[in-house]
Amino acid sequence: MLNFVLRYCRQIIDGLTTPFVLSYRYRGLMWMLLRREIATRTSGTALGFIWPLVQPALQVLGFWFLFDVVYGMRLERGANFLSYLLTGMLPWLGLSEVLNRSANMFREFASVFRRTPFPIEILPVQLLCLPSVVYTAVLCLIAGLLFGALAVLKALVVIPLLMVWLLPLVLCCALLGLFLRDFAQGLPFILMLLLYCTPILYFPDMLPAAMRTWLWLNPFSDLMALIHAWLQGLALPLNSLWRLLGLWLLLLGPAWLLFRRSLPHVREVL
């Protein structure tokens, strides 16, 4: 048992350190891959790099238009629905984009690593880089407008921490997307369901009491509770914090182990 726990801890440490150590070692390569990613996304467009920044903002604007203008949703207690929506929706969009891309991660970078001595272990971190920058920039802007200057500083850490928390999920989605191709097709639907099951488009207490008790099963509810509290300067819900940390520690070790085991298969499958 002790041996199992030690091995488990070693995998967690390995899973947390190795991708970042390698990313630092290959930082020049990662920078060029980032440029490659931007070139892929913005090639032929007039606005270029503006698009990745504007897209999340436009999506948020769409939700605001639907719920605030069309449905005219007004919340109790004088809460500002728009600020609530934006605070939760932006991190969710970032999370959703990263997980969707991770399911196709190996295929997206196949041309780079298939015939070259490429360190595949850096890909999960590579995948997190651009969304980290883009969503941090947009969230800082929104937080500054909604909650003042201090919130800008607080917003700086939200997306990067979210991305680190997502690492085990990225590893799992990348493997599932590679070996079970149906997964990548079904993932957008799963994420859409999760969006509706997570208090982003509504307050948790707007749910019927019977359903509210089930929210604790959804780690993304904890995530949203933490983000809202942090940006609005409220007391942090420590239960949510520990649950998220526990889940992260539980997943990271096995996810990293499976990822390492899969590496010899990756080039063969592709």
Binding site: G28, L33, R36, T40, T116, L175
Partner: protein, 410 residues
């Protein structure tokens, strides 16, 4: 001298799964659920600095797998590979280029993939661009490049990372026209500088001419290894037994496009600065024709070759090969091999004539291929394949392909 490359008990097998899910099951449980298909089996090898190692074998023998393992684009299934030095592989040039990125960015991306830091890339960047001849187009997306520009840039990157080991699959030169010669010179410069080279080719002539050690891979195992001549001879015999020797394989001096096309199809020259064959004339007993009737041991065969020696290049050499109907080379002659140094005439053109008195080939149909080669006899500027067809007849009942000079004594 210590080994630059040490390979011990190296095997590579591909995993075959009955169902896709078996692979997932194997990854999760760590227990095997596959069948093995061995591409390489128990390879042991030590290569010292400065060695030029040739790799021969039939298609599917495992040569490419070995090259990929040495290039670290594939991991061994069993055994180990220890490489002390940087490897540059001329395999699938430009495979990791991104079409939307500029040539400049692709240089930096590919150098980074090869392990160069940004500072190191900056140091070689100007040389890469200069050698590739891309010029101002370096800032355009590579999707706008011609295939020639694409491969020039890729070759330039691969050979400017200061490798200790160069892996070459098939071609000793890439691109076309003048760049073909430049790329060949660059590879030769690696050899001259004492770099270790792995050269895989179907051209037995080139392998024998270039390498000082040859491995013959067959069905994933090293069947023979050692000095080029005996290994090549054994492999050539094996191919003939298997009837797998492709026409012209022994001489097939270069895989680049300009070698196999050109005079054989009557194509005009492509690059005014490069040597080219301008005419091949074959005369039998004073009568000129492309298809000739020849009397064995009687007819004199005279072959005249006119060529343009190119500009700013050493005067080329000329070689010709007689081959049988099955493509097997039966005899050859070359100015380099015979110690004849050609020089252009007063008109700046080259001209050489070779005479085969009383041609000793026995009855049969033979083809004559003429090659215009570089001064080292390795890089073919142009090939006039099947420049003439000789239909040899004979008197008497001698058998075989050649009437050897002989004397009977009692």
């Amino acid at each position: 001298m210590s080994a630059l490359i040490s390979v011990h008990g190296l095997s590579k097998y591909y995993k075959l799964y009955a169902h896709d899910f078996d692979r997932v099951r194997e990854i999760i449980t760590g227990k095997p659920h596959h069948q093995k298909f061995y591409a390489l089996h128990d390879i042991n090898l030590e290569v010292r600095e400065g060695q030029v190692v040739g790799l021969v074998g039939k298609n599917g023998a495992g040569k490419s797998t070995l090259l990929k393992l040495l290039a670290n684009t594939m991991q061994p299934s069993e055994g180990s590979i220890n490489i002390h030095g940087r490897v540059a592989a001329l395999l699938e040039l430009g495979a990791s280029f991104h079409p939307e990125m500029s040539g400049h960015d692709n240089v930096y991306l590919n150098c980074a993939i090869q392990g160069l830091s940004t500072a190191e890339t900056e140091r070689v960047y100007a040389d890469i661009v200069e050698f590739s001849g891309i010029g101002e187009f370096i800032h355009n997306p590579v999707k706008t490049y011609s295939s020639g520009m694409f491969v020039r840039l890729a070759f330039s990157i691969a050979t400017h990372i200061d490798p200790d080991i160069l892996i070459i699959d098939e071609a000793l030169s890439v691109g076309d026209g003048a760049f073909s010669r430049r790329s060949f010179d660059r590879i030769m410069a690696f050899k001259k500088a004492g770099k270790t080279i792995f050269f895989c080719s179907h051209s037995l002539y080139q392998v024998e001419a270039l390498c000082d050690h040859v491995l013959w891979i067959d069905e994933g195992r090293i069947r023979s290894a050692g000095a080029p001549a005996p290994v090549i001879t054994a492999y050539g015999e094996f191919l003939r037994m298997e009837s797998a020797l492709p026409p012209g394989a022994e001489m097939q001096a270069n895989q680049s496009a300009n070698a196999d096309e050109g005079a054989a199809t009557g194509a005009a020259m492509r690059d005014g600065d490069l040597p080219r064959i301008t005419a091949v004339r074959v005369a039998v007993d004073g009568h000129e024709a492309k298809t000739q009737r020849v009397m064995s041991g009687v007819s004199d065969v005279v072959i005249e070759i006119d060529f343009h020696p190119g500009r700013n290049l050493p005067t080329p050499s000329v070689a010709l090969v007689f081959s049988g109907g099955d493509g097997r080379a039966l005899a050859s002659a070359g100015t380099l091999n015979d110690g004849l140094v050609l020089s252009p005439g007063a008109d700046g053109l080259g001209h050489v004539r070779v005479r085969f008195p009383k041609l000793p080939l026995l009855k049969g149909n033979y083809n004559l291929d003429v090659y215009l080669l570089c001064e080292r006899g390795l890089h073919a500027y142009e090939a006039a394949l099947q420049a003439a067809e000789l239909n040899v007849e004979q008197r008497g009942l001698a058998i075989g392909v050649v009437d050897l000079p002989h004397q009977w004594e009692v």
